[in-house]
């Protein structure tokens, strides 16, 4: 396979950055939702989705 270095760099950087950003967002969400009262924690309506799988 030609250009293997460029391919690894391109795909690698993209996937790593997206992964890190995703983790960061999830972690921010966890920290925030702990400090918000139970009733206001859900976003859309008060349907209050139960724990998912």
């Amino acid at each position: 396979m030609t250009h293997i270095g460029y391919l690894l760099a391109g795909w690698g950087i993209a996937l790593v950055v997206l992964g890190l950003y995703g983790c960061g967002v999830v972690r921010r969400g966890r920290r925030l939702s702990r400090s918000v009262p139970e009733g206001e924690r859900r976003w859309m309506t008060a349907k209050g989705e139960s724990q998912g799988g």
Binding site: M1, T2, H3, I4, Y6, L7, A9, G10, W11, I13, A14, L15, V17, L18, Y21, G22, V25, V26, R28, G29, R30, L32, S33, R34, S35, V36, P37, E38, E40, R41, W43, E49, S50, Q51, G52, G53
Partner: protein
């Protein structure tokens, strides 16, 4: 996975996450194993030319570029709705799409640069319309996010951010036009699909790329939106607490002593 009640996850988002991961795995399979490299034979000399394996970056770069523009358009549209309707929902959507869009935009620039090196023999090409437009767009939205991080009154900040987003997106056609007139020496394939030897499988993989990065984008947006929503809920909660605190403060306060009830005294 932590308790669902203290995270931005939900059954829906988790299902989406799993599908996204499976999609990414299959995209990697198609992009690196099943598709052929871009090798063309010169019609007269019979020499081999083309992008060879570097073309495999297309499945990453092009979908992300399209999604970047989609994100910024979403941001501008939500900002416009926010200015008209004043709903917190629009503000949170605008902020979320700007942030996710900026991450995508940065990656488009980086992967484009990495792709350009072997194919065009340069990391950077001044005067390439799409390159320059995307760069200015990235800078515009970096400014937007900087504005979002200032410690200002939330409503004031939201309104100004909406104005910045709208102006930024209105500015894109002007930037595009000016760069095009400035130096029209684009290296980008005028139509990617026309120049490259696109086979059925390559086309399919590109479409799969759009789908998978679309899913990544949707998953990020979902969680980022919920983070923004929680931030607003927390701000509302803080105000409620502060009002209660002020009211309690008054109960314990000796007003007479504080203002010098005996009169005149400062």
């Amino acid at each position: 996975m932590a308790d669902g009640r203290t995270s931005t996850g939900s059954s829906g988002s988790r299902l989406l996450g799993v599908i996204t991961l499976v999609g990414l795995a299959s995209l990697l399979l198609f992009a690196f194993v099943l598709t052929e490299p871009d090798v063309r034979l010169h019609p007269t000399t019979g020499e081999k030319f083309g992008q060879f394996d570097a073309v495999r970056l297309i499945y990453l770069h092009v979908p992300m570029a399209v999604l970047t523009y989609a994100a910024f358009l979403t941001c501008a549209a939500s900002s416009a709705f926010y200015l008209v309707r004043r709903g917190a929902w629009w503000d949170v959507t605008a902020h979320a799409s700007a942030e996710v869009g900026t991450v995508f935009c940065g990656l488009v620039l980086v992967t484009g640069s990495i792709w350009g090196r072997p194919v065009w023999n340069t990391w950077w090409e001044w005067g390439d319309v799409r390159l320059m437009t995307t760069l200015v767009l990235f800078l515009l939205f970096t400014g937007y996010l900087a504005l979002r991080r200032t410690a200002a009154d939330p409503q004031r900040q939201a309104r100004r951010a909406a104005a910045v987003a709208l102006i930024a997106v209105l500015d894109i056609p002007l930037i595009n036009r000016s760069v095009e007139w400035w130096e029209n020496r684009t290296l980008h394939q005028q139509s990617t699909l026309a120049e490259l030897k696109i086979e059925d499988l390559t086309l399919f993989t590109l479409m799969l790329g759009f789908l998978v990065f679309g899913l990544v984008f949707a998953w990020l947006m979902l969680h980022r939106f919920r983070v923004g929503w929680l931030e607003q809920a927390q701000a509302r909660h803080d105000v409620t607490l502060a009002i209660a605190e002020r009211q309690a403060e008054m109960e314990t306060l000796d007003v007479g002593a504080a203002i010098g009830e005996s009169g005149g005294e400062k």
